[in-house]
């Protein structure tokens, strides 16, 4: 009887070991729209910890042009409301970047959307501020997306995993009709994000 129990234990161990290897499919605990807890600005390793709000230019006010409208007076189905929403989207899509961030060494936490893979490793990705960004809900403004190139490929990473990314910020100008320039980052270190509790 005791030996039978031992066998079952062994069987369990191996089944668990077999299950443990594909750590790739770990499900995320985040829900759509979740943001990561933002850090206080302390610099342990030469990188300034940065929150997503710091990526917005100081004097940028996306609501400026909409102030004139009394939004409270608009009903949901009002065609003017739809227009305002449309206008807001356009403003967000061409949101300006904070020029002082160019060349800054920063550390920022966000969710990863893979762009390029090498085998099962990710070499290039977009970092976005909230979970489910862009796949399930409208995309964040142009100045809330960072295009990250990694120096070392990321192992076992899945779309919408959370990471700390440390590296040098750059501003990428593209001449397109939408007129937006975006953040680009050369990442030195990418580590999985762990909630401090």
């Amino acid at each position: 009887m005791r030996q039978l129990f031992l066998f079952l234990l062994l069987a369990g161990t191996l089944a668990w070991a077999g299950d443990e290897i594909p750590a790739l499919d770990a499900k995320s605990d985040y829900k759509i729209g979740d943001r990561l807890a933002q850090p206080a600005s302390s610099s342990p390793s030469g990188y300034r910890e940065t929150g997503w709000d710091d990526l917005l230019p100081k004097n940028w006010d996306p609501m400026k042009e909409l102030r004139a409208l009394n939004l409270g007076a608009l009903a949901d189905a009002d065609p003017r409301a739809t227009k305002v929403l449309q206008k807001m989207r356009e403003l967000w899509d061409s949101a300006p970047v904070e020029p002082s961030l160019r060349g800054e060494r920063i550390r920022i936490a966000g969710f990863m959307v893979p762009l390029e893979r090498k085998g099962h490793q990710v070499t290039e990705f977009l970092l976005v501020p909230y979970f489910g960004a862009c796949i399930h809900v409208p995309p964040p403004p142009a100045n809330q997306i960072i295009h990250v190139l990694t120096s070392k490929p990321l192992k076992d990473a899945q779309a919408m995993n959370a990471f700390w990314v440390s590296g040098t910020m750059d501003i990428d100008h593209t001449d397109s009709a939408w007129g937006a320039s975006g953040y680009k980052m050369k990442a030195d270190v990418v580590t999985p994000y762990k909630e401090k509790r």
Binding site: L14, G18, D19, D93, I146, H147, S176, W178, A180
Partner: protein, 420 residues
């Protein structure tokens, strides 16, 4: 200790038939476990290898995974096409740097036929941003020119200048053939290890041309249009299956994806290849893990058999162990003897399993590539596989402790005082 090892080998040799069979079962189960792990890894790698540098894959509205499967990996069939006007609208969008149209549906001896434009040879990237290279010839220029993937030409033995006929639909040869409009092989691509190798490439105009007289869904007598008259028709495509889009700025991909998904004139779907691949693995992952768990259980069964065989042998070895004890072997020596036996069989089984797997992959790789488009490189074991092997040996060790312990318990008194 040395004597003990010598005795263990001699004793094992004496029972070579039962132990040998157990060894085979352990080796086979290890081969199965490693094989499943390896195929899973190789499948992921070869899928990830197939597309690079593409920001969005656009097609008719369907599941993102399915769009990826048919547009990039040529698995399954498209649910619907997209209009040429939509393609042109997206291609001329200011954010878009390049586009590659893809028109699928026909085949040649089971290999898919892809209608595309010259942008394919210019912008398509695979692996680590590698471009396509021609091993011989040039890209298609005339309507009835075809460029073959390396495997198509190798498998079917085609050379430059050969004439080939395409088959309507994805059926085998001899079905509805476009026999009246033969193609000339003008180029052969260098091997890529991706679905490109299994593809016959023709121009979009050619795709339109071979279907000119198929307007009723089948060639109707009296409606056939000979190849030499085809050029008089307007060969602008009406529809394509899907398109690959490259953007000027990769960070703009979400904007563009939204623009595509909200595109009013036609229901379109744009997917990020990286995200769709993750979704695919999420779906496939369940089956993969089940398969891996089943093969892990097979290893457990093999090792259980091993334990059972050694345990059963205890009965016939009572005298042997008793004699060992009487000439001065300690109970712990008996314990070691039996545990070592089980461990040795497990390690040997694992080693034979690895060798068997290497042989099998070397033998079956061409078959897997031609039938499933799966590229399996015969490589030495990876870190993950080594961890799997270690856990097998660990479980083997635990399993061998059982007969060792039992012999230890029995050997204290058993055998020396036979009960009659």
């Amino acid at each position: 200790m040395r004597h003990l090892l010598f005795l263990a080998t001699r004793s094992a040799w004496n029972r070579r038939l039962t132990l040998g069979l157990t060894l085979v079962s352990v080796a086979l189960s290890v081969t199965l476990l490693l094989g499943v792990a390896r195929v899973r890894q190789e499948a992921r790698d070869s899928f990830a290898q197939s597309v690079s540098g593409t920001d969005l894959v656009v097609g008719a509205r369907t599941s993102p995974v399915q769009l990826m499967l048919y547009a990039v990996f040529r698995i399954g069939e498209a649910t619907n096409n997209i209009r040429w006007q939509s393609y042109q609208a997206l291609a001329s969008h200011p954010e878009v740097a390049w586009t590659i149209p893809l028109s699928l549906g026909d085949s040649h001896h089971g290999f898919p036929v892809l209608g595309t434009s010259s942008a394919y040879f210019e912008h398509f990237r695979y692996g680590s941003s590698q471009g396509l290279a021609l091993a011989a010839g040039k890209p298609f220029a005339d309507v009835f020119d075809a460029v073959l993937g390396s495997e198509v030409s190798e498998h079917l033995g085609y050379h430059l200048g050969d004439h080939i006929t395409l088959t309507h639909g994805m059926g085998g040869e001899g079905l509805a053939e476009h026999a009246d409009k033969p193609f000339t092989v003008v180029g052969i691509l260098a091997p890529t290890g991706t679905p490109v190798d299994r593809t016959v490439h023709i121009s979009l105009e050619a795709m339109e041309a071979i279907h000119l007289d198929w307007q009723s869904g089948a060639p109707i007598p009296g409606f056939s249009i000979p190849a030499e008259y085809v050029r008089k028709f307007d060969l602008t495509p009406k529809e394509i299956t899907a398109m690959l889009v490259g953007l000027k700025s990769r960070a703009a991909v979400f904007k563009m994806q939204r623009y595509i998904n909200d595109y009013a004139p036609e229901a379109l779907l744009g997917v990020l290849p990286g995200v769709a691949l993750d979704q695919l693995w999420e779906v496939v992952g369940i089956a993969e893990r089940t398969l891996l768990a089943v093969s892990a259980m097979v290893v457990v069964v093999g090792l259980t058999g091993l334990t059972a065989v050694i345990l059963a042998s205890l009965g016939e070895r009572r005298r042997e162990l008793a004699i060992l004890r009487s000439v001065g072997a300690k109970p712990s020596d008996v314990f070691l003897l039996l545990t070592a036996e089980g461990l040795c069989v497990t390690v040997l089984g694992a080693l034979i399993g690895v060798i068997l797997l290497t042989l099998l992959t070397a033998l079956l790789a061409p078959f897997a590539q031609s039938h499933f488009g799966l590229v399996i490189q015969p490589e030495w074991i990876s870190v993950e596989e080594f961890m799997l092997l270690l856990s097998v040996v660990g479980v083997g060790l635990c399993a061998s402790l059982v007969p060792g312990y039992r012999a230890y318990k029995l050997s204290l008194a058993d055998g020396l005082t036979p009960r009659l």
